[in-house]
């Protein structure tokens, strides 16, 4: 396969940044959820949890 | 006593103290945008197609400008002058032909039929590259030192493509550019 180095960098950074961003969102969500009173997490329903 | 119950101004804390950071980022961003827009309007990449470059040859003189054209496959000659690799070829656009001498390594995708964008200037002389008989042959050539490829949006795996490249190379080797 030609240009494998460029491909690995381009694909690797794209997927890596996506995974890093997704992880940061999950962690930020968990951290904030722990600090917000339960009655104020209004978008969440019993079924959806 | 009611005064003590009224909402009071928040105490200056770390969060407030750091408010200058996004403000500074916003300021730097605004400045960068102005610089980039100015850069665009000065048109540093703006290129003349081969036919336009010939029309404007008088006013361009020996100023540096950017040229765009499609290399004629059978005209390509690769050699060297001293230690420096040299590639001579003719580009076409709008029915006009320009002979080019490029000093330095050609672009990886450089080949006949794929447009190139070159930085350089007109030279009123013969190209002087051994084995290169420019198709324009008008007493001028374009001396280039930077080459970029302007590929198209065709992403096709043509089975006859390699055959056509070989035919063009054979034609060049035999000096039969009309083939």
């Amino acid at each position: 396969m030609t240009h494998l180095g460029y491909l690995l960098v381009g694909w690797g950074v794209s997927l890596g940044v996506g995974v890093a961003y997704a992880t940061s969102l999950i962690l930020r969500g968990r951290r904030l959820s722990a600090r917000v009173p339960a009655d104020r997490r209004r978008w969440m329903t019993t079924d959806d949890a | 006593m009611t005064e003590t119950l009224a909402p009071q101004a928040p105490r200056p804390g770390r969060a407030r103290g750091r408010r200058w950071i996004p403000a500074a980022i916003a300021g730097v961003v605004a400045l960068l945008i102005v610089v980039l827009v100015w850069n665009l309007f000065t048109g540093t990449l703006f290129f003349y197609n081969a036919d336009e470059a010939i029309e404007r040859r008088g006013e361009l003189g020996d100023d540096r400008f950017t040229l765009q054209g499609t290399p004629v496959g059978c005209s390509i000659v690769e050699g060297s002058q001293g230690d420096e690799p040299v590639t001579a070829f003719t580009v076409s656009f709008g029915g006009a032909l320009v002979d080019v001498v490029h000093r330095g390594e050609p672009a990886e995708l450089f080949e006949g039929g794929t447009p190139v964008v070159l930085d350089g200037n007109w030279v009123n002389d013969a190209p002087g590259v051994v084995g290169f008989d420019g198709l324009a042959d008008d007493g001028w050539y374009y001396s280039s030192d930077r080459m970029r490829v302007k590929h198209d949006n065709d992403y096709i795996n043509d089975e006859e493509y390699e055959d056509r490249l070989e035919q063009a190379a054979d034609a060049a080797a035999s000096g039969d550019c009309a083939a």
Partner: protein, 250 residues
């Protein structure tokens, strides 16, 4: 009578879990299709495989910033906090996608154009300006202070950024002599069937990821707002309690 279920300690839900699973499956399929099923290109050879991450990033940059613009307009017209939250969430994801568009385009450009970047290229520079505008948008959002004034300032930038979206998109048509960038691969290009199919798979994966991220980011902003409100409530209660104590002491 059943007791209410405890509130979850995260921003996930059944929808986001399904979206997340679909994204993971989609990425695996995209890697297999992009590297093994899609054919190489005559001119670019295997470098063309960058198109499968570059085009989805570019298209969802537009979609994210259009979402921001719609949210901004809704804030300006109706003072809708929900739409303002959507606008901010979409902007952050859009900045991510826009950065990836520039990065993958640059890495793709080195072997194909023979340069990573050209400061005079109208497509590249207008895309960078768009990215900077949206970084400015996020900076303004994080300035703090009066929330309504901040949202209004950010919304104006969000709408202005949308104005340059068509310029970025059409630049390769309007200023042909100022760009190395080819015209649209999807609308004007000549693509192999499997290449087109793989691009479509990439678009679906990016779309699912965009939806997943938007929901999570929206909920984070919502939680941040709720936290500010509950902190304010708490502070007020404490002040009142202090006031009562002082009254009692005096």
């Amino acid at each position: 009578m059943t007791a209410p279920a405890p509130a979850p300690s995260h921003t996930g839900s059944r929808t986001t879990r399904l979206l997340g699973i679909a994204v993971v499956v989609g990425v695996i399929a995209l890697v297999l299709l992009g590297f093994f099923a899609a054919p190489e290109d005559d001119e670019q050879q295997d470098a063309v495989r960058m198109i499968f991450v570059h085009v989805p990033s570019a298209l969802f940059t537009y979609i994210a910033f259009v979402t921001t613009a719609i949210g901004s307009v809704m804030w300006l017209l109706r003072r809708s906090v929900w739409w303002d939250t959507v606008a901010g969430a979409a902007a952050e994801i859009g900045v991510l996608f826009c950065g990836l568009t520039l990065f993958t385009g640059s890495v793709w450009g080195r072997p194909t154009w023979n340069t990573y970047w050209d400061w005079g290229d109208v497509r590249l520079v207008t895309t960078l300006i768009l990215l900077l505008m949206m970084i400015g948008y996020l900076s303004v959002r994080s300035l703090g202070g009066d929330e309504r004034a901040t949202a209004t300032r950010a919304a104006v930038i969000g709408v202005l950024a949308a104005v340059i979206l068509p310029i970025v998109n059409r630049s390769v048509e309007w200023w042909e002599n100022n760009t190395l960038h080819q015209k649209s691969s999807l609308t004007d290009g000549n693509l192999e069937d499997m290449t087109l199919f793989t691009i479509v798979v990439g678009l679906v994966v990016w779309g699912l990821f965009f939806a997943w991220s938007l929901i999570h980011r929206f909920r984070i902003t919502w939680l941040e707002r709720e936290l500010r409100v509950s902190d304010l409530d708490l502070a007020l209660r404490e002040r009142r309690a202090e006031g009562h104590t002082e009254d009692g002491d005096s």
